[in-house]
């Protein structure tokens, strides 16, 4: 177990290291950011000054190593636009996105798992078809359209929910639904197919052959197995939500990291963009690790060899 954990940790570190390189390269793709940072009306000398101030005149790899070196000391850099340490900026934005992601995931799981289980228990019935249609239709609706629709309906027309910002829990309802519904079909399908498989498996047949109560068969001997791949998928989906919340956060003016990322891209605030890419990568890596551990807890075949 310890060997496995340390191996996984090393792997995760390696992934994050490569990701950091890609993030850095992406941000420096267009070459020298100084011209844009210097702003309107800057002369060539001004740009040169910015270049020197921020060290963009150095070779790319030196800049990268400098950046990595600073990250290792816990310094994620400084936002040139917001004039604050990126660490502080992220500390303000990450909780918003984390809250949004968790709410969205909760919404998605609460909807998809029961639906998937019921659909699997009654394959090819009306309820199964209904669930499948929900999935197909749900996946066809782009989240920004859905978000705008929600805003129009509940924000403007009925005036039930606040439209923008992240001050109260009420503010999170529409964004969470808009973000979470997109993960619903995938999780539902996986739950359904997992349940279909496991309900036909030998050990479930054994459980039924020994007269166990139906709910025990379904929950203890069925769902317990079907949920294992769902855990991994949920972690992946949560990771996607962190990265995919840009559109939703922009529409609802939710000041999370997606919003920050999009603003920073437009502001050419490169240290923030780099840091966000890195943080999302790290979050994703940690999430998959957590999912693996949770799977090990659920499945003794992984845990005990």
């Amino acid at each position: 177990m310890l060997v496995y954990l340390s191996k996984r940790f090393l792997m995760t570190m390696l992934v994050i290291a490569v990701t950091s390189g890609i993030a850095f390269l992406l941000v420096h793709l267009s070459g020298d950011p100084a011209a844009a940072m210097a702003g309107e009306g800057a002369s060539e000398a001004d740009i040169e000054a910015v270049r020197a101030t921020y060290g963009f005149d150095r070779p790319l790899y030196v800049q990268y190593l400098d950046w990595v070196g600073r990250i290792l000391t816990g310094d994620l850099g400084r936002s040139t636009y917001l004039r604050a340490d990126v660490t502080d900026v992220l500390a303000r934005h990450v909780p918003v996105t984390a809250t949004l992601g968790l709410c969205a995931l909760t919404f998605a799981l609460a909807l998809s798992i029961p639906l998937g289980v019921i659909a699997a228990l009654r394959p090819n019935t009306l309820i199964d078809r209904f669930a499948l249609w929900v999935a197909v239709a749900g996946q066809a609706l782009p989240s920004f359209l859905f978000a705008l629709g929600l805003m129009y309906l509940f924000g403007v027309y009925f005036r039930l929910l606040p439209i923008s910002g992240n001050e109260t829990w009420w503010h999170f309802i529409m964004p969470s639904i808009a973000l979470g519904y997109y993960a619903t079909p995938a999780i539902m399908r996986l739950t359904r197919s997992g349940m279909l498989d496991v309900m036909q498996s030998d050990h479930v047949r054994t459980a039924r052959a020994y007269g166990l109560a139906p709910w025990r068969v379904v929950v203890r001997h069925g769902l317990r197995h079907a949920i294992i791949p769902v855990v991994s998928l949920a972690a992946v989906q949560l990771g996607f939500m962190l990265g995919g919340s840009i559109v939703i956060e922009t529409i609802f003016s939710l000041k999370g990291i997606g919003y920050l990322a999009w603003e920073s891209i437009q502001r050419a605030d490169i240290e923030v963009i780099q840091a966000i890419l890195l943080v999302i990568a790290a979050a994703y890596a940690v999430l998959t690790l957590l999912a693996d551990l949770l799977n090990a807890a659920l499945d003794p075949r992984i845990r005990i060899s």
């Binding site: 792997m11 890609i22 499948l132 197909v136 782009p142 989240s143 279909l196 997606g258 999009w262 990568a281």
Partner: protein, 300 residues
């Protein structure tokens, strides 16, 4: 139960390949029919757009902006779906927009499908080190948020159509790689792969004659998912203003341009939005149908 032997019993002189059988089953599948018809209609619309409207989608008439569609007050058959802010015919834009939306999705999927399949087969067939390295790349790719990376690249380099296709293509190969890898791993354990090696087949022959034809099922299903994904991604990028650029027009761009009119001219967003939803819905239906007919337990 024993339906494997049906054809042998029929003694049919003409034998159907598994692919033909799957296709036959697909044609008996309701979802395949509905989805396929919609997709075919949209493809035809895209191809024959110039015949279907007299307007050029990019010709403007600034004084004739915001004509409402025919069913609204002040609408006319002159512009059945009205005009946009620059006075361009909305129907013409919708018809031509199908070209970009479909073409872009198709090209990106060709790129991502080639990359992903190559990586998946390599990892699945050889295992060991190649597998570890490719797995690592898949993990790295998954840790990079698609929308964000696409935004950064497009924002910093510029959003030409080809760059967009390339970027999306280079971002969406992960599912291909994952699915092809596991499908190949399963196949590699099949005895006919061992047989192929034992009869002295070269590696390319094994990859292209033995493995590739047998993973077309999952490949087609993933392709359908990724086509829908690419269309949605382009739409999301367009929504943020960094997708397809004028004078090209895509449905995503139309939605983006119309979103300012959400409160007061909702049809402007509803028309391309509905087209987008319909197209993706149809693709998903077909994808689902293909999944049903290519996986034996799909219809359980």
């Amino acid at each position: 139960m024993n339906n494997m032997t049906t054809s042998a019993q029929d003694g049919a002189p003409v034998s159907l390949s598994p692919g033909r059988i799957a296709l036959r089953r697909a044609f008996r599948h309701g979802g395949f029919w509905i989805g396929g018809t919609i997709i075919l209609a949209i493809i035809l619309i895209a191809i024959f757009a110039p015949l279907l409207t007299p307007y050029d989608p990019s010709v403007q008439s600034l004084s004739k902006g915001f004509v409402p569609p025919v069913w609204a007050k002040d609408g006319s058959w002159l512009h059945p779906l009205g005009t946009d802010n620059l006075g361009r015919d909305y129907l013409a834009r919708l018809l031509y927009g199908a070209r970009i939306s479909l073409g872009l999705a198709l090209l990106t999927v060709i790129i991502s499908g080639t990359i992903g399949t190559a990586m998946g087969i390599t990892a699945g067939y050889w295992g060991g080190w190649p597998d570890m390295i490719i797995n690592f790349f898949i993990t790295v790719r998954l840790t990079l948020p698609v929308v964000l990376v696409a935004l950064v690249v497009v924002a910093l380099i510029g959003s030409s159509l080809w760059l967009l296709i390339l970027v999306i293509g280079l971002l969406l190969w992960d599912r291909f790689a994952i699915v092809v890898r596991s499908a190949t791993q399963q196949l590699a354990q099949r005895e006919y792969i061992t047989s192929a090696r034992a009869i002295g087949s070269s590696t390319p022959r094994i990859l292209f004659r033995e493995i590739l034809p047998n993973i077309t099922g999952p490949l087609v299903v993933v392709a359908s998912i990724e086509i829908a994904h690419a269309i949605l991604l382009e739409a999301a990028l367009s929504f943020l203003g960094l997708g397809v650029q004028p004078p090209d027009v895509s449905w995503g761009l139309m939605v983006a341009e119309a979103k300012a009119q959400l409160l007061f001219r909702p049809w402007m967003i509803a028309i391309p939005g509905a087209a987008l939803v319909l197209l993706i819905f149809a693709i998903n239906l077909v994808g689902d149908a293909l999944r049903d007919v290519t996986t034996p337990e799909g219809k359980a």
